[in-house]
Symmetry: C2
Subunit: 217 residues, 2 copies
């Protein structure tokens, strides 16, 4: 297909597609003459992946680039399928106190998790605990444990739902569920917080949603 | 204290403090003569809150400004304590299909959650489900339910840990736990995903962490 059809099918403007091509996020099409190229289903697919990561995952283009590099890295071992998006989702400049790092390491040991010992999430986590401490809010052990137990259940469900057929599909699904499952989980948590807060502090302004109009079942 | 001491105590550069003052994120100090001002403990506290939201919460200054506006809004009802940070954490341009909106509404109804019927999280959630569908990854009902159950447990624990004494402290703690609890939860989930992925696909590269060195207990 020509670039106009690629644009129509993906709802991505032609100028944006050309930008992604120049930036190397999207592989070049097949050259037809000096100025035109043809594109295929792989381009449709890749464009949709980029848009999902940018629009719903909230990733910058630089982050998307490193995620895609990992998706395309055939030598990546399959157990790293879910790690592919991880480094791209974590800021670069992380620091934490030794005390918080010990607290995080202990948590991981207690849960028996297999993790990369130099995983930047360990540092990110410790840094966030430090940041809370610094403003006078100490995250209690039992709340941290609640997070860890919930995270375990979520991660197990997510990984068990990954496809098993095709390497590329497993990697892409892993990236998607990591990048977009995050916003989904946090949105659900905020809704549940509204409910918990209403139950604790009382409210007249919130209400149960009405059952959605018929027509779905 | 003078601005230099405020800077020293909060580890925020003087130039940054002056920028926050100009932008109205930090209230002005008490004027002493034409060019000098004195600052108090409230300024230390507010600066630390801003830095925690920016550095660990990942909020832009514009988002921080709207969070602080809600924190300072005395007329805000207490049950909205946890809602204070919410709108600031959600992007502005949200759309979703009616089908996904119905799916989200049904989920909320089934869980009996009290929520603002026009909460933007409902739309954010539906939009994220659409984005996954669009790239050919349908989030199955049982995985969505796993997210919702985990979100409920997390939210209840978070709200039950909020202080009860002072209105300002409740609101600030609610903002902090919402903004920083998110990155903490997502980091734990990525670590748990590493473990789940290693268990499913096998690995030679991951390892259990060693017990942290003694000296903590």
């Amino acid at each position: 297909m020509w670039i106009a059809e690629l644009s129509r099918r993906t709802e991505v403007p032609v100028a944006t597609i050309k930008y992604y091509l120049r930036e190397g996020l999207l592989p070049a099409g097949e050259s037809v003459g000096a100025t035109r190229s043809r594109y295929g289903e792989a381009h449709v697919h890749r464009l949709r992946l980029i848009r999902a990561l940018v629009e719903s995952g909230g990733l910058s283009l630089a982050r998307v680039r490193s995620v895609l590099a990992e998706v395309d890295e055939e030598s990546l071992e399959l157990h790293d399928v879910l790690g592919a998006a991880h480094s791209a989702l974590i800021p670069d400049d992380l620091t934490a106190t030794a005390e918080s790092r010990r607290r995080v390491d202990e948590l991981v040991v207690e849960h028996g998790w297999l993790v990369h010992p130099d995983s930047r999430d360990l540092l990110l986590l410790a840094g966030a605990l430090d940041a809370l401490d610094k403003v006078g809010y100490h995250l209690e052990d039992d709340l941290l444990e609640t997070y860890a137990v919930a995270a375990t259940k979520i991660a197990e469900a997510e990984v068990s739902h990954l496809p098993t057929d095709d390497r590329q599909r497993i990697v892409e699904s892993g990236v998607l569920v990591t990048a977009l499952g995050g916003p989904i989980l946090l949105a659900l948590r905020r809704l549940a917080q509204q409910n918990a807060s209403a139950n604790r502090y009382g409210t007249s302004r919130l209400s149960h949603l009405n059952h959605p109009p018929a027509g779905r079942a």
